[in-house]
């Protein structure tokens, strides 16, 4: 790889633009797509590889090419710069996520509490309008405060976010569901919310809850059954992780 190709590839990635490295195996010749003009067959393969998030080999004119997609990172937008967010922070980057924390309460969203993260101190409705969650985004609300959580959930439900989770007990969630209905969300939309948030591992401490949330996000991202939205359970028996948070 030429140093110049590496520098261009890294610049695209740093700018969070999707980029595909195309390598001819016979001699190591390389192109970047979509930045460089390449034959249609390679461009099609590059587009496909980005969509599938998987590297692939293609043959063009008898030559083997490796198509190596580099998507921008998945994002986790967390509302609430609380203890659980602090525990999630060090897990995010190694798992391949950029974590962004939204909290208008200045005492919470500080670089001292959350070093190395992107912090947004706008109100959640403004923050969500700016962050524009997409199909590569997860949204998690952790404040317990409807004034902060509800606008974020409202925006998340209107987005293609691949995961939406909300901290809080089943009782809290039932009240939240009523409020979201008042905002015009139907049952199918509301069923997208994972609540109580996180896999049921009987988590008690903030790091345990953070682990359960991160595991559920990974499961959703990878298409595991554990990460699928859970139908609202009528049972009142189970103590949810949200209660202990």
């Amino acid at each position: 790889m030429k140093g110049e190709t590496l520098a261009r590839l890294q610049a695209e990635r740093a700018a969070q633009r999707a980029v595909v490295l195309l390598t001819r195996l016979s001699d190591g010749a390389q192109h970047l797509w979509p930045q460089d003009a390449v034959p249609d067959a390679l461009a099609d393969a590059a587009r496909d590889a980005l969509g599938r998030e998987k590297g692939a080999m293609v043959t063009l004119d008898g030559e083997a090419w490796f198509i190596h997609p580099h998507n921008p990172p998945l994002r986790i937008i967390v509302v609430g710069a609380v203890h659980i967010a602090q525990a999630m922070a060090p897990m995010a980057a190694p798992l391949g996520f950029e974590m962004i924390v939204v909290d208008p309460r200045g005492a919470f969203a500080t670089a001292e509490r959350l070093p190395g993260l992107t912090l947004n101190t706008d109100w959640p409705d403004d923050a969500m309008a700016a962050l524009k969650p997409d199909a590569r985004s997860a949204v998690v609300t952790l404040t317990h405060d409807p004034k902060l959580d509800d606008p974020a959930l409202d925006a998340a439900l209107r987005s293609e976010a691949f995961y939406i989770g909300a901290l809080g007990s089943r009782r809290t969630h039932a009240k939240r569901v009523a409020r979201l209905r008042d905002l015009g969300h139907g049952d199918d939309a509301i069923a997208r919310i994972h609540a109580p948030v996180g896999l049921d591992i009987e988590a008690v401490t903030a790091p345990e809850i953070a682990l359960s949330v991160m595991a559920e996000i990974v499961a959703a991202r990878r298409g595991a059954a554990l990460g699928a939205p859970r139908p609202a359970a009528p049972s009142q028996q189970r103590v949810s992780i949200g209660i202990t948070a």
Binding site: M1, K2, G3, L6, A7, L9, Q10, R13, A14, Q16, T23, L25, D27, G28, E53, K54, G55, A56, M57, F66, H68, P69, H70, N71, P72, P73, A93, P94, L95, G96, F97, E98
Partner: protein, 110 residues
């Protein structure tokens, strides 16, 4: 910093840092897998002539052999394609016991 779809460490950033520090560097990339190979296509290993390794192209089974090829690629300036698999005697030598097959592209960073 953005991340790869297949690994969270940014091996390219590490390779660039090593290069900037005056090291000779090669990059190995898994380009094709069959069966139960441990690392998906796109997984990278960076190697320096001085013997530093970062990243992985298998569960540790073939990294030594890949590093050897990386040193050759750095010396010759020419990329190489390496095949490892159960049908390949070399794979047994280097211990790819998982039953999978992998194709690895090794290129010098010039």
């Amino acid at each position: 910093m953005s991340t790869d779809t297949t690994q969270s460490e940014d091996i390219l950033a590490i390779a660039a840092e090593w290069r900037a520090a005056g090291e000779q560097v090669a990059i190995a990339t898994v380009v094709e897998t069959w069966g139960s190979s441990p690392r998906p296509a796109g997984s990278r290993l960076a190697v320096t002539a001085s013997g530093r390794l970062m990243g992985s192209v298998s569960g540790g089974c073939i990294e030594g052999a890949v590093a050897d090829a990386a040193w050759q690629a750095m010396a010759s300036g020419t990329p190489q394609v390496l095949d490892f698999g159960v049908s390949d005697e070399r794979a047994w030598e280097v211990g790819l016991s998982c039953g999978g097959k992998v194709k690895v592209f090794v290129e010098p960073l010039t």
